[in-house]
Symmetry: C2
Subunit: 118 residues, 2 copies
Amino acid sequence: MRAILGNDIAIQAARAGHTRPWPDGAILAKVVWKADPKTNWKTALAPGKFVHAEFIFKDARRWAGNGTGWGWARWVGLEQKPYGKDAGFSQECISCHTPVKGTDWVFTVPARFPGLSR
Amino acid sequence: MRAILGNDIAIQAARAGHTRPWPDGAILAKVVWKADPKTNWKTALAPGKFVHAEFIFKDARRWAGNGTGWGWARWVGLEQKPYGKDAGFSQECISCHTPVKGTDWVFTVPARFPGLSR
């Protein structure tokens, strides 16, 4: 179960449709929990055990070297242990995101919401 | 697919564990979408069609008359049409929430998050 969050630059870019590419300064976060049945509503799933938090930081120049223009990060568990033993861990992130290279490496599109055109 | 949101008073109360009862001024919102397969990740579900937004407003004195201390509201669709033909509609909300009367009529508990004790 995942929630995708953005900083102000990312939210403004998403609402304006300026996401191919996302602007420098945009930060997206993905927060991941195990999905557990709700104790008071058995047929519903709710966030259970916290798994990890992941971030991507857009800076086309700074992160040109990894081929994406994004910096990649993951912190594991409630103790927020940094993931990976060296900077090469980001290739693991990028590999999974390659199917969405055409949308600047981002899977998420904004949810529909009243008053927003997208 | 639902996201539960709170105003500052509600967030502070949830983090402090002051939710039996929730304090006057707390507002909780539930935003509901249909769950659709993600176009770029077929095994995942993402927010699709917007269904409605619902709110509960805590004011123990103002809303004593309905037996819950909460005001109840629902706006339907992207056009945000008010739900119900008269004030009696709130009994429909209250009926479904009766199983959680013991937690001040609220189903949701905060998701686990790093740095928060609850």
